[in-house]
Symmetry: C2
Subunit: 157 residues, 2 copies
């Protein structure tokens, strides 16, 4: 199950996409300007989430360059790309560690040597594939505009 880490990260990214500026536009990276950075206090307030906890979560996003953090007065966080260039899968994978539903699919865990004759393995594999395609097929921009890229996504039911 997706924990608060992944869900909070998504909410922060969406918040930044809606309330902040970006470092990059169609013509490439823009110079970083102070003032376009949003302090975490503000986001935490708006989203009703503990600031201290968010710090931990945003750390990994900064380290992987999904966000730029700037210290000091006037500092804060901003996106490094435009919203259509972030997939949900990327954000969730970083914050959750993995999107895999069973441990035997984890890259780090090659311990299950029953794979070859395991009746359930192909099912997990297939589901894993579906999950990957689904979340890497949706961008921040899609969520903001209330649409998904997945063709087979109908709205009803």
């Amino acid at each position: 199950m997706v924990s608060t880490k992944g869900r909070y990260a998504l909410r922060v990214m969406l918040d930044l996409a809606q309330h902040g500026g970006f470092t990059e536009n169609i013509n490439g990276p823009l110079p970083i300007e102070r003032g376009s950075f949003i302090p975490l206090d503000e986001i935490a307030d708006r989203q009703g989430i503990s600031k201290k906890y968010l710090e931990i979560i945003l750390k990994v996003l900064v380290q992987h360059n999904l966000l730029k953090g700037l210290r000091g007065k006037g500092g804060g966080y901003k996106l490094t790309r435009t919203p259509e260039n972030y997939t949900i899968g990327e954000i969730l994978t970083l914050t959750e560690g993995s999107l895999s539903i069973v441990s035997c699919l984890q890259e780090t865990d090659g311990t299950c040597r029953k794979k070859s004759d395991c009746l359930t393995f192909p099912m997990w594999k297939k589901f894993d594939q579906m999950t990957h395609d689904f979340f890497f097929g949706i961008t921040l921009a899609d969520l903001i505009h209330g649409r998904f890229r997945q063709a087979e996504c109908s709205e009803d039911r």
Copy 2:
């Protein structure tokens, strides 16, 4: 993520489907015959799983009539239906409690009142739907015969 509970339950059900008899055939329920029950000792040995732990897991499956348990000498467990009449979704839902990937989708948890203006909710909802369709579209018989019912399931990659 699916825990050992769900995965072990699946393995036991598959084990019973392959090594045991059923209580029901095309013409409906058969009389219960002692001897067609498989003792848990045997299954635990075959699967290499702690018997005591399996007892806990099988309890809920018996309570919901997916399995019949019979005490005493010559007793054990057996399926109450034929393998094509069990879906993986049913087994996982019972043993895992839920298949939902985020807590706000849980029936029991109606606490998230931001649903209406939550940008991520439709995505979780859609994924939940996909997950449900996937696992409720596969039966024990499908796994045994190495096929899925899902039309869009190709073998490659």
